[in-house]
């Protein structure tokens, strides 16, 4: 029941541990609705939607130039609406329908067939399960916006996201959470380090490479329009992330409680790591730096959140702060790609760091819940590498094909005049700020 979302189906000792503690009476109650779990999942669903609108939208809007602030918020909002309808029509079924060869769900749940007032998924209503999963399908493509911000045509963005959630998100979510082949392999991804963050980060990098740099990058100053909004958005992301990670247990229990603890610890550790690195390197601690670090920590703890202990979480946070800092500050500059708001540098890299370290710190000797019986740290890390590697490869190839296809048919980029004028006015006939 609770293993639906967890990827280490069957094999995970924590499932065994939970089952051991169940009394016979409780086993009988398995198929009955749990009001406590349902209440927490209703709450978690709202928290995760809150991460995208308005959390991520504000986080991004503050980082772009004033002339594009509205456009990124508009993109996040439109993605929310589009993915919601696609989810009801076929996406939910592709991701969580009955498994077809470990690769994809069948269309048995298309048009939300069978999701009724009384249908259950484990001990919570399937309606709640489906909505909870929808909020993950919403935030993943919304994260990609950060990579192509300030230059993509709105229509091309809608096409890309529609095709991407269909051909990349749904299958990968199925592989890891829907009973597909990666979960059978024993890849551990508690709340979506691979499905959400590596996936979004890699798609973002490919989009940034295919579309090219913003005109003037990196020589022209591209100053964030309003870091106050970015701080507010980052705060909302942090709060919402409790729904993301502790909600991924699909139950209001001890694992969810510990997921909340490790989320908090890793985030603080990563935020401070980034802040101090910047302080040492440039002489001053920055607001953008500390929130960037916090998001890196949130990302990295995501796959590990149901498996590691508090000290493991701090270690993961330190590693994420350090590695994402160098990815954003050094690697991006060295290679010269224009990942505008660091969707790859924070989510792709942070997701990868988290995926690998999950295999390390889940071990019981390091304070975790323990690996599957007979699996060593090296063995689990190898599984994690396979999970991450396959996702990176699949996502990169399919995203590339989709982007090239859309570019050939309708074009991906706004014209250089539109880019100069700002997408708010050029594409939406509106301005985010009319302050004078």
């Amino acid at each position: 029941m609770i293993s639906v979302k967890k990827t280490i189906t069957g094999a995970c000792v924590c499932v065994g541990a939970v089952l051991l503690t169940l009394t016979p009476g409780m086993v009988l109650a398995q198929d009955e609705l749990s009001r406590g779990d349902t209440a927490w999942m209703l709450t978690s669903t709202a928290l995760v939607l809150f991460m995208t609108i308005p959390g991520l939208s504000l986080y991004y809007a503050g980082m772009v130039r004033a002339k594009n602030a509205l456009s990124v918020m508009m993109q996040c909002f439109a993605i929310t609406c589009v993915v919601t309808l696609l989810w009801a029509i076929y996406l939910y079924s592709l991701a969580f329908g009955d498994d077809v060869n470990g690769l994809i769900g069948n269309l048995g749940k298309a048009f939300m067939a069978g999701v009724s007032v009384s249908s259950l998924k484990g001990v919570i209503p399937e309606s709640v399960f489906s909505m909870f999963q929808l909020t993950f399908a919403i935030i993943t493509p919304a994260l990609i916006v950060g990579a192509f911000a300030e230059r993509m045509k709105f229509s091309a963005m809608l096409w890309f996201i529609t095709l991407w959630v269909t051909f990349v998100y749904a299958p990968v979510a199925h592989w890891v959470w829907g009973g597909g082949w990666l979960s059978k392999l024993g890849v551990m991804d508690f709340a979506g380090g691979t499905v959400v963050h590596i996936n979004a980060g890699v798609a973002g990098l490919v989009a940034a490479l295919v579309m090219g740099k913003r005109s003037g990058y990196p020589h022209h100053p591209m100053k964030p329009s309003n870091l106050v909004l970015t701080m507010v958005g980052a705060g909302m992301l942090w709060v919402g992330w409790f729904g993301f990670n502790a909600g991924s247990q699909l139950a209001a229990d001890g694992v969810a409680g510990m997921a909340m603890v490790v989320t908090q610890l890793a985030t603080a550790a990563a935020a401070l790591t980034w802040m101090f690195l910047e302080w040492m390197r440039y002489g001053k601690p920055s607001a953008l730096g500390i929130v960037s670090g916090s998001v890196a920590g949130l990302v990295a703890i995501t796959p590990a959140s149901g498996y590691v202990g508090p000290m493991g979480a701090i270690a993961i946070g330190l590693a994420a702060g350090l590695i994402c800092y160098f990815a954003v500050v050094k690697v991006k500059r060295a290679f010269g790609y224009d990942d505008s708001l660091d969707a790859f540098g924070v989510h792709g890299v942070g997701g990868f760091v988290g995926a690998i370290l999950t295999g390390v710190f889940a071990h019981s000797s390091l304070g975790g819940v323990g690996l599957a019986e007979g699996v060593s740290i090296a063995g689990q890390v190898m599984k994690q590498l396979i999970g991450a590697g396959v996702t990176i490869l699949y996502c990169a190839v399919v995203s590339f094909i989709l982007l090239k296809l859309i570019d050939a048919v309708i074009g991906l980029r706004a014209t250089s005049e539109q880019e100069q004028e700002g997408l708010d006015l050029a594409l939406h006939d509106e301005r985010g700020y009319n302050l004078t």
């Binding site: 990196p218 100053p221 591209m222 100053k223 964030p224 440039y282 001053k284 920055s286 953008l288 730096g289 960037s292 954003v328 500050v329 050094k330 500059r333 660091d342």
Partner: protein, 112 residues
């Protein structure tokens, strides 16, 4: 009559307004402007991307005064806008040919 145009640090505006009020100035026009002098600009840093900001925000004051009042006004601005650090600004004085109060049609020193 003279037109005094002063460029000052934004946070000094209240001090300057008070000092001018004390010497008997009845009207000021204030504009937010940007520019550079010897102070040059500053640098801003976002996720390791360093930007030089050439133009710094300043406040421009325009004050029409009678020739007799000029010295007091210049002294009041100089005194109240000084921090002693580079970037305190400048005062420009130019001749003013005519002043007309729109409501009454008064002209010259009467209209100041």
């Amino acid at each position: 009559m003279k037109l005094v145009t002063a460029i000052i640090k934004p946070f000094k505006l209240d001090d300057v307004r008070e000092a001018l009020h004390e010497v008997g100035v009845n009207g000021i026009t204030v504009t937010e402007v940007r520019g550079f002098g010897r102070q040059k600009g500053h640098t801003e840093l976002y996720r390791g991307a360093e930007y030089n900001v050439d133009f710094l925000p300043k406040i421009k004051l325009e004050i029409a005064v009678t020739t007799e009042l000029l010295e007091l006004v210049v002294e009041a601005i100089t005194r109240s806008a000084t921090t002693g650090k580079i970037g305190d600004g400048k005062i420009f004085v130019s001749s003013l040919e005519q002043v007309i109060r729109i409501r009454t049609g008064e002209t010259g020193a009467q209209a100041i």
